[in-house]
């Protein structure tokens, strides 16, 4: 069992400060995802936890034991940290068969041939590579190589697994399948997983907790997937989690205005500032022909199951989606140039000056 503690870690490459005063705690037995745009330093952090890189400043603890300490320049080498790592490019050794790849950690640990054989075959079944154990990596598909990498990381029975964008190179179907498999394995084996990705869908689906990093390597919010999706701490997180719309809203005498039109909504914002930004997803907009905020359809697209509209609202453009069936039933199929009315089911409110939410304490 393992937890990870990152204490005021600094890391830079020449003039590029990747991490400044980074603090994180990953609890024992959870699947923790670090989500952020490419180049934000997620992988650097993973590599520091694994021991491939040394922090310039700060301390890293695994299972409450210090593994990297910049003060004493002490660092536990990767091979003594008891962890499994799955790399973005799988890093399956091309000169070894599936069996030998997966067996390698046990061979290093000098286990007997019989034990190795038994354990490897168990893992081979577990990751779904039955009957492929004699193949060479060049004879495997990307997804199968991915499983080899996963099996190799699992076989040493590590208490901690580090996964660096392991699903990136897979096609969409396989990616979906693998993310549930990883989650299922984690539940079954009770290990701690530290998962790094820039794919918000994977992160939301797989994680117990998510930390979102901005491109400067700063952690913006930590929370459960639901918490983060419903209460994003700022506009960056909101944008990062999906297609987003933003409208400027004025707050005056307890009333809300978009331009000159008054906005009626059940749940009032808990920010007192006069200038707000309303953020919402395309599916959070209810389009109608009778009442609401007035807009003009500027583009109408039929996407099959959904209708996709671009609507001009008070000089801003809003993107909405409505179920095609629903649209047909309720006469909500619009042509370009037609007038429509908008209502909002769910809005995330940001202070226009800070682009932060009103409620503090999201940033743990």
């Amino acid at each position: 069992m393992a937890n990870i503690r990152i204490e005021s870690v600094y890391k830079s490459y020449e003039d590029n400060h990747v991490h400044k005063d980074l603090n994180l705690t990953i609890n024992d037995g959870e699947c923790f995802t670090l989500l952020g745009p490419s180049g934000c330093g997620k992988s650097v952090l993973l590599r520091m936890i694994a021991g491939f890189e040394m922090p310039d400043k700060g301390k890293i603890f695994i299972n409450d034991q210090i593994v990297a300490d910049s003060d004493t320049k002490k660092s536990v080498p990767p091979n003594q940290r008891d962890l499994g790592v799955v790399f973005q490019d799988y890093a399956v050794w091309p000169h070894m068969s599936v069996f030998d790849n997966i067996a390698y950690p046990l061979k290093i640990a000098k286990q007997s041939k019989e034990i190795i054989k038994e354990k490897v075959m168990n893992i081979v079944h577990l990751v779904g590579l039955t009957n492929l154990e004699k193949r060479m990596p060049s004879q495997l598909s990307g997804g199968q190589q991915q499983r080899v990498a996963l099996g190799r990381a699992l076989i040493g029975n590590p208490s901690l697994m580090l996964l660096d964008e392991p699903l990136n190179n897979l096609d969409a179907n396989l990616r979906e399948e693998m993310r549930f498999e990883i989650k299922a394995l984690q539940k079954k084996l009770g290990i701690t997983i530290f998962f790094v990705t820039h794919d918000q869908e994977v992160a939301l689906a797989i994680s117990d907790r998510i930390a979102i990093m901005n491109e400067k390597g700063k952690v913006m919010q930590i929370g459960t997937p639901f918490d983060i999706f419903e209460n994003p701490a700022n506009d960056f997180i909101f944008k990062f989690l999906g297609v987003s719309n933003f409208l400027d809203v004025k707050q005056q005498d307890g009333k809300l205005y978009i331009g000159s039109q008054e906005l009626f909504i059940d749940k009032k914002p808990n920010i007192s500032a006069p200038h707000l930004v309303a953020a919402f997803r395309p599916t959070d907009v209810e389009i109608s022909r009778s009442k609401g905020i007035v807009g003009t359809i500027t583009r109408s697209n039929f996407l099959g199951a959904d209708m996709d509209y671009l609507i001009a609202v008070e000089s801003k453009i809003v993107r909405t989606q409505i179920n095609t069936y629903n649209a047909l039933q309720n006469n909500l199929v619009f042509k370009e140039g037609e007038k429509c009315f908008l209502n909002f089911n769910s809005i995330s409110w940001f202070n226009k000056d800070t682009m932060q939410t009103g409620h503090e304490g999201d940033l743990k």
């Binding site: 002490k74 790592v85 790399f87 890093a91 050794w93 190799r152």
Partner: protein, 562 residues
């Protein structure tokens, strides 16, 4: 988990120090000694002295000759190489695949053996071709005198043009044909496309190949030694050889030799720098790694005439000299006509099994080549590992040192090891076989670095990190992951060194003693001493060994790649 201290004298640092040490001792130190001797010969910087050495007519003439011969060779090789490259990549010449391989054959033929053959063919009085024209066809004068600047340029061109051929045909093959197609769609004719699109895109490769030839020819010993020396034509390497051999130990001779060598070092450095700049320029980027099928020019009626020109060129430059070597090697006495009663295998038998001198030479070359190849292969893999894989402070020094072997010509290395290992610094290897080994290691380090760096850069860092994450130590990672993956690179490094070392002349001719003749030295000295038939027989045997070796590599490396 036990805590391990990282900095300090770790394995990483030890490997770095050893790598730097190898390059310093074998390459940098000898080169520095040459430069030091040239510029600070009397203990202080003495420009006047250098000027007087350079302005000595003999030295001055050698410098001019080197530049003149190299320029001519470069010009001819570039024309020939580019033309053939274009023929085999961009036209519908018949048997293109076969011709592409045939044009690489000249690489196998050592140019000093080629020069010996041409001397037999085009000696103004005794050459077989000249004699045929004079005796049979009644010409009053020889048709060509091989002992001339033009003769040397042409002989060097015959065996050096593949440098340009390889670079240019590679570039022409990899060039994205859409670049030319879009010009064609824009309305440009084939001539305009060639002038405005193709030539500018291939120019960096042409220039790079030409620069390689320039570098090689300026520092080239064999051809000038065989064809120029006895008629008073010296270039830089042959004059260095003359100075060292004629008066070993004489201060003024060594002084002259070091100044000449310094000129070679400096021009080599400039050429290498220029070449990297040309290849590194943006234009080259357009040539991708993929293989496309470019538009082919229809040669129509010229298809077969051009094929015959190609075949004729190969027959004239490769087959004819090779055949001459083998035939002369079979003659009882040099000068006799090639009739059945004059030809036998007796000379071959004699040099292979009876004559101690030639037997020793073959043995020396094989053992020296093998030892140099093994040592250089392992040293190269270690140095490449530091260069490609390690993140360690002080790597910059190694990167600089790593470029050095590429830019130090053979005669410079030979002079350098004489200065370094003749007892002046406590170790005297002069006149032993060890000094040749040391020089070979320095000379062939570049090949080993190139092959091993290429192999290592294929081994992605994550493959090694994965092993460490699996609990493997650095040593286990190297043994289980890195070594098996770079083995093909090491093997090709071995052969890239072993085969050229077998026929090496430039370095060993300056370092040999009567007991340490190499194959190249034996062929060369026998020829100089007038033992022409034995020299030719030995050259024939060398050619057979080289060809067998090449076939063996093809087989071994070809099998490995599957």
């Amino acid at each position: 988990m036990n805590i391990v201290k990282k900095p300090g004298l770790s394995i990483t640092n030890i490997i770095l120090f050893i790598s730097i040490g190898i390059l310093v001792i074998f390459v940098a130190f000898p080169v520095l000694l040459i430069l030091f001797n040239a510029f600070f010969g009397g203990g202080t910087l003495n420009v006047k002295d250098i000027v007087s050495v350079v302005s000595n007519p003999e030295t001055y003439q050698a410098l001019l000759n080197s530049v003149f011969i190299a320029s001519g060779t470069t010009l001819f090789s570039t024309i020939v190489g580019t033309f053939f490259a274009w023929l085999v990549t961009r036209t519908d010449l018949p048997f293109k695949g076969f011709m592409k391989i045939v044009f690489l054959v000249p690489f196998m033929l050592p140019s000093f053996i080629g020069a010996i053959a041409w001397k037999m063919l085009l000696n103004p009085r005794a050459g077989y071709i000249n004699r045929f024209f004079m005796d049979t066809l009644g010409f009053s004068d020889p048709v060509f005198n091989i002992y001339s600047y033009l003769g040397m340029m042409l002989v060097e061109t015959m065996y050096l043009f593949p440098f340009v051929f390889i670079q240019v045909s590679g570039a022409l093959e990899r060039m994205d044909p859409t670049l030319e197609e879009s010009a064609r769609i824009s309305g440009a004719g084939l001539f305009t496309i060639t002038r405005k699109i193709t030539i500018p895109l291939v120019l960096p490769s042409v220039i790079s190949g030409a620069l390689l030839i320039m570098l090689y020819s300026m520092a080239h010993f064999g051809t000038v030694a065989v064809l120029g020396m006895e008629h008073g034509i010296f270039n830089i390497p042959t004059l260095i050889y003359e100075k060292i051999h004629a008066s070993a130990g004489n201060f003024q001779s060594i002084r002259t030799a070091t100044v000449l060598a310094s000129v070679l070092i400096i021009s080599a450095a400039c050429i290498i720098w220029l070449q990297r700049k040309v290849l590194g320029s943006g234009k080259y980027q357009i040539i991708g790694g993929k293989s496309f099928r470019p538009v082919e020019l229809k040669l129509r009626g010229l298809r077969y005439p051009l094929l015959f020109i190609c075949l004729g060129y190969i027959a004239f430059t490769i087959l004819l000299p090779t055949l001459t070597i083998f035939l002369v090697g079979g003659l009882k006495t040099y000068g006799l006509p090639f009739t059945m009663e004059n030809l036998s295998l007796a000379n071959y038998h004699f040099v292979l099994f009876e004559w101690q001198l030639t037997k020793d030479a073959i043995f020396n070359s094989v053992t020296l080549g093998f030892a140099a190849a093994v040592i250089t292969m392992f040293a190269g893999v270690m140095i490449s590992y530091v260069l490609v894989k390690m993140k360690v402070r002080g790597k910059g020094i190694l990167e600089f040192l790593g470029v050095l072997p590429f830019s130090v010509p053979g005669s410079v290395i030979a002079l350098g090891v004489i200065l370094a290992w003749s007892g002046k610094f406590g170790i005297n290897l002069y006149n032993t076989v060890w000094i040749i080994l040391v020089a070979y290691i320095a000379r062939y380090m570049a090949f080993s670095l190139q092959a091993n760096k290429a192999a290592l850069s294929q081994v992605h860092d994550s493959l090694m990190e994965a092993a460490q994450a699996c609990g493997a130590t650095m040593g286990q990672t190297l043994k289980d992951i890195v070594l098996p993956l770079v083995r093909p690179g090491m093997l090709s490094a071995f052969f890239l060194i072993f085969l050229p070392a077998l026929r090496e002349l430039t370095v060993s001719v300056m370092l040999y003693s009567p007991a340490t003749r190499t194959l190249g030295v034996a062929i060369y000295t026998l020829n100089e001493d007038g033992e022409t038939v034995y020299s030719a027989a030995l050259a024939g045997i060398a050619l057979i060994i080289i060809v067998l070796g090449q076939l063996f590599i093809k087989k071994v490396l070809g099998a490995k790649q599957q």
